[in-house]
Symmetry: C2
Subunit: 434 residues, 2 copies
């Protein structure tokens, strides 16, 4: 006989037990409801794509982390590592069937073979929503508001969205003739929270010299409110620009909706990735600042330029379901989930099993979940099973009850029993209990 194979999963991958899976589904349901309330519509794309499609614009990190292999037809294929690149390919492929502005959401698994330290997984779920085909403050704001309302819907009130605009920082850098090294500088600035101001200064000095490094550090420091930070950004970057005007418009909207206190203009936010061209933002939970951003995104000039000559400006957001779930767990705000069954029909008499299944059907038809205990076991074992499944009511029926057309039911929480009920009366009583 062959040995036992160890039932292990790969590092960075996880099983989800029923309670966890129900909780995740509960969070997803709340997000979907919020996204749909803003008019976002669902799409799906394949998990495996041509590597060429996924890596077209790939940076070094992505290349190394992507799961890539040759398929049965010796094609160079890979697993998607985000939902943005497949969406770009999707828009290019289906432009003729779609309309713009197109607002999609997509909740799905993505894969990155990265270091699994610090609660990172190699298989994780992203919840993305984007507006493509519109370049306006209104579209930017709708993404930000959808993110904000998503957290309110999850019963998380202390949310802080740190927002900036790539264009204003770029104007500052152009003014100091450091525009050619802006990607590098953005990446250093992006590390501010992680490595601290002194280290950022020292790295910047090596690129732009002490004076300009000081100016950049002054620029990225938020002032006491949105408006004064914006004034400083305009002043230091050499005057108003499309970027600063966009931020002003967004400020008017968060004020009009009375949600200004949740939006922080924070010029140190750059988002490391190269493709953003407009607003960039990260969302933090006030109660859990150390957990990092629970949602982030920004505006990109032309989503699908790798795949089409159509111009498709867009703005989007990605919420990481795994980190979000961990955060909600820590806050005690995970949606209640107790997967199981409401009503358990006990098996007292083997000859009555067909009748038990008919009874269970009556209970289900009344709108309650119900199952028949499937084996001949002692009552103690059946009650223990009911407990595991969080059943609230047991249905009890022996030969006498069947002959009389009645059943007994037991409220498993209060231990109260109701005997000799007609089936209709039993179902009514179940309704009162549940």
């Amino acid at each position: 006989m062959a040995g036992i194979i160890e039932p292990r999963v790969l590092k960075g991958f996880r099983d989800f037990l029923p309670t966890q899976e129900s909780q995740r589904k509960g969070i997803e349901t709340i997000l979907v409801r919020t996204f749909e309330s803003f008019g976002f519509v669902p799409i799906d794309t394949p998990i495996i794509e041509y590597t060429e499609v996924l890596l077209g614009k790939g940076g070094g990190d992505t290349d190394k982390q992507i799961y890539r292999f040759r398929d049965h037809g010796d094609r160079d294929v890979a697993l998607r590592y985000d939902l943005t690149v497949p969406f770009a390919r999707f828009m290019a492929a289906h432009a003729a069937e779609l309309y713009t502005p197109f607002k999609r959401y997509h909740i799905a698994k993505v894969f990155r073979g990265e270091n699994t330290q610090r609660g990172r997984y190699r298989e994780f779920t992203q919840c993305d929503f984007d507006i493509v085909g519109a370049d306006s403050a209104s579209a930017d704001f709708e993404i930000l508001e959808t993110l904000y309302r998503s957290f309110l819907a999850l019963d998380v009130s202390g949310i802080s969205i740190h927002l900036s605009h790539r264009g204003v920082l770029n104007q500052l850098l152009a003014g100091m003739e450091a525009g050619g090294r802006s990607a590098e500088i953005l990446r250093i600035v992006d590390k501010l929270a992680k490595i601290g101001a002194a280290e950022v200064r020292s790295l910047l000095e090596q690129i732009v010299g002490a004076e300009h490094a000081g100016l950049i550090l002054e620029f990225i420091q938020p002032e006491q409110d949105f408006e004064s930070t914006l004034s400083k950004m305009v002043r230091l970057s050499g005057g108003e620009s499309d970027g600063s005007r966009r931020l002003s418009e967004i400020l008017l909207m968060v004020r009009e909706l009375g949600i200004e206190s949740s939006f922080v203009l924070d010029p140190s936010i750059t988002r490391g990735l190269d493709y953003y061209t407009g607003i960039v933002y990260e969302a933090f939970l006030s109660e859990l600042p150390d957990i990092g951003a629970v949602g982030a995104g920004g505006r990109y000039d032309n989503l699908a330029s790798l795949y089409t000559k159509l111009e498709l400006p867009g703005v989007g957001c990605s919420i990481g379901l795994d980190r979000l779930t961990a955060a909600l767990e820590e806050l005690g705000r995970v949606p209640a989930a107790d997967p199981g069954v409401q009503v358990l029909v006990l098996r007292l008499d083997d000859d009555l099993v067909p009748y038990y299944h008919a009874l269970a059907g009556r209970v289900r038809a009344a709108g309650f979940s119900c199952e028949v205990y499937p084996e001949r076991k002692k009552l103690a074992a059946q009650f223990a099973f009911g407990d595991k499944k969080s059943a609230r009511v047991a249905v009890i029926c022996g030969e006498n009850e069947r002959a009389g057309g009645t059943v007994g039911i037991k409220d498993l929480a209060t231990r109260q029993s109701y005997d000799g009920l007609t089936i209709e009366a039993a179902i009514e009583q179940i309704g009162r209990i549940l």
Copy 2:
């Protein structure tokens, strides 16, 4: 400038546009509701696993079809090709945290690099539900009834579940001393619908001779009803057995529930795969017999024996979402799905954009989905967009309305307009329209 990358997907893979994706989600929701009404609980497992775990018991076909590669740590890994093997590994890994009988469902994508002819996909979605840790007619029946009710819930009434029991056929084969070649014989019998009786006879004759081939063909022919087929099976196989008794018990249950007409005892059903040991069944739609089985499964003695010494008898079912969706499309029974938005706030005046977003928030707070048209465009373009998104109501607000605290709304179906409404009155009117 680099050339354009063709935005193609791999053969056997598909994008889902919003309407398709909404329809699929609608079908999934109905299945989930049915599964949960029977007390099944959700789980999830990784898409990538150790190849050793997935192929432990692998047959030749699976080996060839599996997507297999070396990951970044040079581990031999593969994508799951069904949801049963990962479930077996899951049960072995989590036995201590779970309870039995354990009833799980799992709706997820699986991957097989097989021939894509005849509407088969390489990435497809399975909807599985199983009961593990109980070996009884009651558990078998609950799986069958869940399958049957799933189709009723999908508004498909003409469902026919063809059922048999591996043990009875095996007893027949043992009697003719062909037990050693039973796997081969089961596979031939399984092809009856595909290759016809003459071809099956000829293949069987090469293995067991003409007389026994004739006996097998007589055995696998259904009689006019469940009971007479069962009598014949018992007679030809040499008397009652655990298998025939199990079928009798199931007959009592389908009769008790008044659903006998949807269950066909069909001894030609064997299910090709080796691991079934008890009942086996396939579900067909009376209106679409040619589409093949839309759900199938059976009982296995010991689900997780590769990974644990715990005994875990089980019975399960798998519904293929892709074929099911195709069938529902052909029958015109796909759940209605028109993803879009209910209410569109038109953009008449750029200065009012913040106010439009506040209005949209009021509409959403009243429970309706709502979005603001995000760009400065002519009204005709905005109405065309509303049409694409199936918006039913437009909200119209210029400077005068804003100053007066009113809005106009337009029913986009009837073309009727309602002007000068307070915002509360407008929301009430929207409620009447929707």
